[in-house]
């Protein structure tokens, strides 16, 4: 879909047009699902996060001003994923399951993987959680490095270095 048409859909959403919101699900739903799936490795959880993202989008669309809509949407998706991680960590603490306590966010996400995780999913689970998230953000949101750096409030050099390291390691693991 041309950017001009997407812009028209976004304007419709800002006016509260139901049809435009459903169109937005058609445009971004698959990409956002892919992003969540690659981060969680779990289909059901990705379905839930996807639904949560679009419901939140309805609430927040008025706050989108200009700039990259993809960047705005995926920043919101990243926040939802982090909220989920925090919730999961709280839950784990409450259950006091020391044996299964997360060694890191990476391990925590790996725990959720479906049994039939593909090769790429297993390779991604080997990456540091922060690096994996950056690589996924870059791939699915199609944001520029500068946009990612702005959205995460990190120096662009750091972002470049992390993504480079992550993708290089991924190639080795997939080798």
């Amino acid at each position: 879909m041309a950017q001009r048409d997407i812009d028209r859909v976004i304007i419709g959403c800002k006016k509260g047009d139901e049809a435009c919101f459903t169109q937005l699900v058609d445009i971004y739903g698959r990409r956002c699902f892919g992003y969540f799936y690659r981060l969680t490795g779990n289909r059901d959880l990705s379905d839930e996060l996807l639904s949560e993202l679009f419901v939140k989008l309805v609430e927040k669309i008025g706050t989108y001003r200009d700039g990259s809509f993809d960047g705005w949407l995926f920043t919101m998706a990243s926040n939802i994923f982090h909220d989920h991680l925090r919730y999961k960590q709280r839950q784990t603490r409450l259950l006091d399951e020391h044996g299964r306590r997360l060694k890191s966010q990476s391990a925590g996400v790996a725990d959720e993987y479906d049994g039939d995780a593909d090769k790429m999913q297993r390779a991604l689970a080997e990456l540091d959680s922060d690096v994996r998230e950056l690589v996924m953000m870059r791939f699915y949101s199609q944001m520029s490095f500068r946009e990612i750096a702005d959205s995460r409030r990190e120096p662009i050099g750091t972002i470049l270095s992390k993504v480079h390291r992550g993708l290089k390691r991924l190639r080795e693991l997939m080798g």
Binding site: Q3, G16, E18, F21, T22, V25, D26, G29, R30, F33, G34, Y35, Y37, R38, R43, S46, D47, L50, S51, F54, V55, L57, V58, E59, S68, D70, D118, K119, M120, V135, R138, F139, Q142, M143, S144, F145, R146, E147, I156, G157, L160, V163, H164, G166, L167, K168, L170, R171, M174
Partner: protein, 167 residues
Amino acid sequence: MNNSANENLRELLAGFMDEAAARQTAEDIENGEKLLGAYSAPQPDERVLAEVKKNVVAAVRRRRTVVFQRRILTAAVAAAVIIVSGLVLMRYGNQQSSHQTRMVAASIPASVWEGADDADVTVLTAEIENIQSELSGAHSDDGGNGSNDIGDLETELIEVNGDMWKG
């Protein structure tokens, strides 16, 4: 739009490293992203997307109701503010006008009242009372000579006025 597609990666990396390293790093990144593209994530079920759309439409309707309720509330608050302001203004205005009346009464020089002859005041008061009773009689008179009575009263008023200024 400044997205990954129109970003000059090599130029960007050249700001952090020498040209050869920038070229190598850009190649690593491009190849890594190609690999990710080759192993695409599974697609969501169409049923899931339909469910997401249903949730989104419900959220839009919920939001619309909330916005409508908020507008009603704002209008009610605005109306209440206007009514209270009106009441306050009316009360304040009444207080001010009674204050002004007192001011007018006080502004008549005391010498006018003190210097007036008692006999003149008595005559004038009697004339006024007479005119008042004739006026009320003319108003209550249902007969056809009401206009003549009013004409007579006018003449009398002119005479009283003239007498007063003559002293």
